[in-house]
């Protein structure tokens, strides 16, 4: 076992601005607290639709002083668990556009492998700043909820060539839709893949931007297809991180089990809770974490 003094030397200890600080615990206390926090993250993530992955890394690094690389490894693992665990529920509804998903996965997996390579050479303070910006962006997007846009059926050259157009079940029978701006969506997904690997998040927020806003997929199709892709994208970089020693069992196991249980419970009680209040709570948490991450990034103390 390492002595405490050695551990403290490497990271200049800058106190958190607002958040509490749990340092110097035994493994059992660490596991229980991390599992509890991860459970909350998974629960709120599922209830608000924002995903829990985005708060796992700030929680581990800010509250528990876990090195950013261990935190990213553990978070990616939890992202895979929630994505795969939720898949069956989504599949039953029959909204996923498998062709769109697999095509865009070419972009996200290449992005994820490049992101994993970049993560090895990027200073952690830069990653903290980038993380803070993504958290702020998430908060802004959650304050202004997305609006359902009109469906387009105008043919698109790429969409026709790749047979991406499809239908989805709606109240009035099968509804046809046409996929727009395929190259632009592909490029955005490449960025989503890089961010996913660099920060250990699902980057659902960028994926929705690509599929909802750019490719103009119907709301439910983009949500379920995005879920399909998040697990695959995270698996690409998680494999690399496992080999690189970023995935520590003591950190990853309470995170994975906590987030998974929270997300599964969240999906079950979704219809019984007031999502609006929860969304505000979650947005508040995300903003506080964003400020802390930016502060730590700019003071170079993460």
């Amino acid at each position: 076992m390492r002595c405490r003094g050695e551990a403290d030397r490497a990271s200049p200890n800058v106190a958190n601005l607002f958040l509490p600080d749990f340092a110097g615990m035994t493994a059992i206390a660490f596991a229980l607290l991390v599992a509890g926090g991860s459970f909350g993250a998974g629960l709120l993530g599922a209830l608000t639709g924002l995903g829990g992955g985005i708060v796992v890394v700030p929680m581990l690094t800010l509250l528990f002083h876990v090195d950013l690389r261990y935190a990213i490894g553990a978070s990616l693992v939890s992202v895979i668990a929630t994505s795969s665990g939720a898949a069956a529920a989504y599949v039953r509804e029959g909204f996923t556009n498998v062709r769109v998903g697999i095509l865009l996965e070419v972009a996200t997996t290449i992005g994820a492998l490049i992101g994993a390579a970049l993560a090895g050479v990027t200073p952690t303070s830069y990653l903290a700043i980038l993380f803070g910006l993504i958290l702020l962006f998430t908060a802004i997007r959650s304050i202004r909820p997305r609006q359902e846009h009109a469906l387009l059926t105008t043919p698109d050259k790429w969409s026709a060539r790749l047979r991406l157009d499809s239908t989805y079940p709606s109240a009035g029978g099968k509804q046809a839709y046409s996929v727009q701006h395929v190259p632009a969506g592909f490029l955005l997904m490449f960025v989503a893949g890089i961010l996913s690997a660099l920060l250990g998040i699902g980057s659902g927020i960028v994926k929705v931007l690509a599929m909802d806003q750019t490719m103009r997929l119907p709301f439910k199709v983009s949500t379920t297809t995005s879920n399909f892709m998040i697990g695959v994208t995270a698996a690409a970089s998680a494999g690399v991180y496992l080999h690189r020693g970023y995935i520590d069992p003591t950190v990853a196991f309470p995170v994975m089990l906590g987030v998974l249980c929270g997300a599964l419970l969240g999906a079950r009680i979704l219809s019984a809770v007031n999502a609006k209040v929860l969304r505000q709570v979650f947005t508040g948490v995300v903003i506080v974490m964003a400020i802390e991450m930016l502060y730590k990034g700019f003071t170079g103390s993460l």
Binding site: A10, M25, A81, S84, T109, L162, L242, Y246, F253
Partner: protein
């Protein structure tokens, strides 16, 4: 889409894949839970210090090393095996999607899916990026 009648519908494939994924996550979670409980029983009193990155030892980051550790009932290796199974579930999903496109004789998407699968296996098996 139009000509081959005995084709497997996208929806049937998705149903099977969805169930498979859930089962994969369940098995992975049980293995992780077993390893995690064992880990806390054996090393629960040790100080939890992760503020300095050391990288995992070889036995916890290569597939062969993890399997060796599981053979000797090492708790940390059992957790890693569960995590490895978890990482493998989306890979299995892509592999299954590939089979479905082969059955549908959809050449374009067989190629696209094979590329995604190759990228995933590359990361998982070789671990280079």
């Amino acid at each position: 889409m139009k000509d081959s009648p005995p084709r497997v519908s996208d929806h049937t494939v998705e149903q099977i894949v969805g169930r498979m994924l859930q089962l994969g996550v369940l098995i992975a979670a049980l293995v992780v839970l077993t390893g995690g409980v064992l880990l806390l029983v054996q090393h629960g009193g040790a100080p939890a210090s992760f503020s300095v990155f050391h990288g995992e030892p070889d036995g916890l980051r290569s597939i062969a090393g993890i399997l060796r550790g599981v053979g000797t009932m090492q708790s940390q290796a059992i957790v890693q095996l569960g995590l490895l199974l978890l990482i493998a579930t989306p890979v299995a999903r892509v592999a299954f999607t590939l089979v479905a496109f082969v059955l549908q004789r959809d050449r374009t998407y067989v190629a696209v899916t094979a590329l995604v699968l190759a990228l995933l296996l590359y990361g998982l098996v070789f671990g280079h990026a």
